[in-house]
């Protein structure tokens, strides 16, 4: 199956590690030019250097998504550097936290306004070219209880609603918007890597709840995201794909 990604231009916000890096890598491997961001200069440099081996144009620049003006300037820079944009995957996240009101602002600014501002930045270009694909990344923690009541879960849930509304509004312009909700994903330097080391019993209890006896890998989420971003998914719009190895208990009728 041809994904039809050759020569496409993709922006990955938060593309230096974990699922974001895996997304950028699958895109580059499929022939996309990629612009990626991360907060740290070193991590951006490392990611760009590593992804250049696929022979497409890979550019990157550090930015803090929470600084609205810097972030908007970064988005303009990315579109300009790529000379356009066909694919947007904004997945930087403030991650979880309980106990401080500040976690709500962090999650709102990063997990919600991160995608919102990116979408606002790419919609004019995509509308003009009557073509574009956006994939938002939520979480199975939005669907089922995980880690206690917290801003991360609630803010991520809002993306599922917002994604559907965007799909309805922009379908007429050839812009598809879909949502992927990954279950627990483990990678070196990720939260579950740390949980495995610091809270081994909890980690084991999560493994026991996994039908396939393990957690997900970043590339397993990335492939689903990239599929929805590709022309191969041309009839997927407003859909919400749970990619969790069967982890969530609810039945998605």
């Amino acid at each position: 199956m041809d994904l039809g990604l050759q020569g496409k231009k993709a922006i990955v916000v938060g593309g230096a590690r974990g699922i974001g890096y895996a997304v950028a890598e699958v895109l580059a491997r499929e022939g996309c030019d990629v612009a990626l961001s991360a907060r740290g200069e070193d991590s951006v440099k490392d990611a760009v250097a590593a992804l250049s081996r696929y022979g497409t144009r890979v550019v990157g620049k550090p930015v803090n998504v929470k600084r609205a003006d810097d972030y908007k300037a970064w988005l303009d820079w990315a579109i300009e550097a790529l000379e356009g944009v066909d694919v947007l995957i904004p997945l930087s996240s403030a991650s979880g936290g309980i106990g401080s009101e500040k976690y709500w602002y962090n999650a709102f600014e990063t997990d919600v306004m991160g995608p919102v501002r990116a979408i606002e930045a790419v919609i004019p270009t995509m509308t003009e070219q009557q073509r574009g694909a956006i994939v938002l990344v939520s979480t199975t923690s939005a669907l089922e209880a995980m880690g206690g009541p917290q801003a991360y879960n609630a803010m991520k849930a809002s993306l599922i609603t917002y994604g559907k509304q965007l799909a309805l509004a922009h379908g007429k312009d050839g812009i598809r918007v879909n949502v992927v909700s990954p279950g627990p994903v483990e990678f070196e330097g990720g939260n579950w890597d740390m949980i495995k080391g610091t809270m081994e019993k909890f980690y084991q209890s999560q493994l026991r709840q996994q039908p396939m006896g393990r957690l997900g890998r970043p590339e397993e989420i990335a492939r689903a995201i990239v599929f929805l971003a590709s022309d191969a998914a041309s009839w997927c719009n407003g859909s919400h794909l749970v990619v969790d190895g069967g982890f969530t208990n609810r039945t998605h009728f």
Binding site: K102, Y103, G189
Partner: protein, 449 residues
């Protein structure tokens, strides 16, 4: 110093440390030159031999200064600490003039113990058997029916006085009447430890556990950071077990471990680990508000505590910046290990069993800084139990877990002794100091255990 890049690590970390020339506090931080201690096996026999245990008793326990207790447990005349070491028990008593005296806890009549172990308050020490009665100064004040002892009372009509002193909130004693001055013995640690001001800290835990191992197996267990990757995986997201500075002095030693940081053995996370989150909260920071990278937290906690400590009633002025986060871990020969921190002290006294080399007493003493203006908390009660009967906290449970099987394995004919690496230099140093006490300086022969 070992080459951290060639160890089993994921990253090479260059730890920022205070400048040894201007540390900014009284505690010296310069690296002491590593002693040449060779690579020989440390004989296992010394961990279970009754003969070696006897030598330790004769040449170490009855010769050195020993930690007796906490000075603020006995502020008033008549307050006393009764503590045991091996087969001996002593009374350390606050005198009317505020000084301390120490006596063997044994009635001169028929040998009964005058008091059970613990702290207490007395106006006199009256033996429960025939009511021989001693004053706070150890003199026999009443000997019922003295006229029926044709030989008179025991010489001088007094309990023997043992050396004792008070330093840095703790009381110290010796079973050796000829012991060297305490200041000579403790050198050079006065400058190291006084800046922590333990007198501003209050009891938080006071526990004694009977462990099924030789006391030296316990000393060894806390004298290296090599075991962190083996038994404390959770601490890899809390401290740097690789970039550790080891300093060996004449008989004591220490290592300095960066805390509030991520071990080079694991990948750098992008979210704040729970234990470091707690360090930040305890310092008064809001982790949710933190915009820096996880690798910068240690320095930022130091800066925050330096700036906000005074307003929180915490005077860190005698400490350098590293001491505001890091673990400075001292070993006071022969048996005291202290993790000293700006806000608390976690200390272990490791005592030999009276008769069995395969058993020991492990005392856990924890003290916490009481911010100025806050009420002094009530003293915690002492608890005592056996190995494994109760948890003493995740980390110490992990430390304790292997010790009984280590003690068993030591006695195997297939185990000649400890195969010690550079990260365990303090173990080698401790055993060298022990050797010098047992066999005389440099006197250990090839056949000695």
């Amino acid at each position: 110093m070992w080459d951290t890049a060639r160890m089993d690590v994921k990253r090479v970390v260059d730890v920022i440390r205070v400048d040894p020339a201007r540390p900014g506090g009284r505690t010296p931080v310069e690296k002491a030159p590593d002693p040449e201690l060779g690579t020989a096996v440390i004989p296992a026999e010394r961990y279970y031999s009754e003969e070696f245990m006897k030598l330790e008793w004769e040449r170490v326990w009855t010769k050195v200064w020993l930690l007796g207790g906490r000075a603020d447990d006995i502020p008033e005349p008549g307050d006393y600490i009764c503590t045991e070491i091996g087969k001996e028990s002593v009374l350390i008593v606050r005198q009317a003039d505020g000084s301390l005296r120490c006596f063997p806890n044994v009635c001169l009549h028929r040998g009964n113990r005058l008091r059970p172990e613990g702290i207490g308050k007395a106006t006199e020490f009256r033996c429960m058997y025939h009511h021989w009665t001693y004053g706070l100064d150890g003199r026999i004040e009443r000997l019922p029916d003295l006229c029926t002892f044709p030989q008179g009372g025991p010489p001088g009509m007094t309990l023997r006085s043992l050396p004792c002193t008070e330093w840095n909130s703790f009381v110290w004693f010796s079973l050796n009447p000829e012991v060297e001055p305490f200041d000579d013995y403790i050198a050079p640690l006065k400058d190291h430890l006084e800046p922590y001001h333990p007198e501003r800290m209050a009891w938080k835990r006071d526990v004694t556990v009977e462990w099924d191992c030789n006391w030296k197996a316990s000393v060894d267990a806390f004298n290296e950071t090599y075991h962190v990757q083996g038994i404390h995986p959770q601490l890899l997201w809390y401290l740097d077990d690789v970039n550790v500075q080891i300093d060996c002095y004449e008989r004591h030693n220490r290592y300095l471990i960066p805390f509030a940081t991520i071990s080079p053995r694991v990948a750098m996370p992008s979210t704040i680990p729970p234990a470091i989150d707690e360090i930040m909260r305890n310092a008064g920071m809001d982790p949710a508000d933190y915009e820096g990278r996880v690798g910068d937290i240690r320095r930022d906690v130091q800066r925050f505590k330096r700036e906000h400590g005074p307003a929180q009633g915490k005077d860190y002025s005698a400490l350098n910046d590293d001491q505001l986060t890091d673990d400075y871990h001292y070993m006071i020969f022969p048996n005291v290990a202290l993790n000293v921190h700006a806000d608390d002290i976690l200390m272990f006294r490791q005592r030999p069993h009276a008769t069995d080399p395969n058993k020991m007493l492990y005392d856990v003493w924890v003290f916490e800084l009481v911010p100025e203006g806050e009420p002094w908390p009530e003293r915690v009660k002492h608890r005592r139990f056996k190995h494994g009967d109760r948890s003493i906290g995740q980390v110490l449970d992990q430390d304790a877990h292997n010790l009984p099987t280590v003690q068993l394995g030591m006695q195997s004919d297939s185990f000649p002794g400890l195969w010690i690496g550079e990260q365990e230099l303090r173990i080698r140093h401790f055993h060298k100091v022990l050797d010098d006490y047992i066999y005389g300086p440099g006197g250990k022969g090839p056949d000695d255990i």
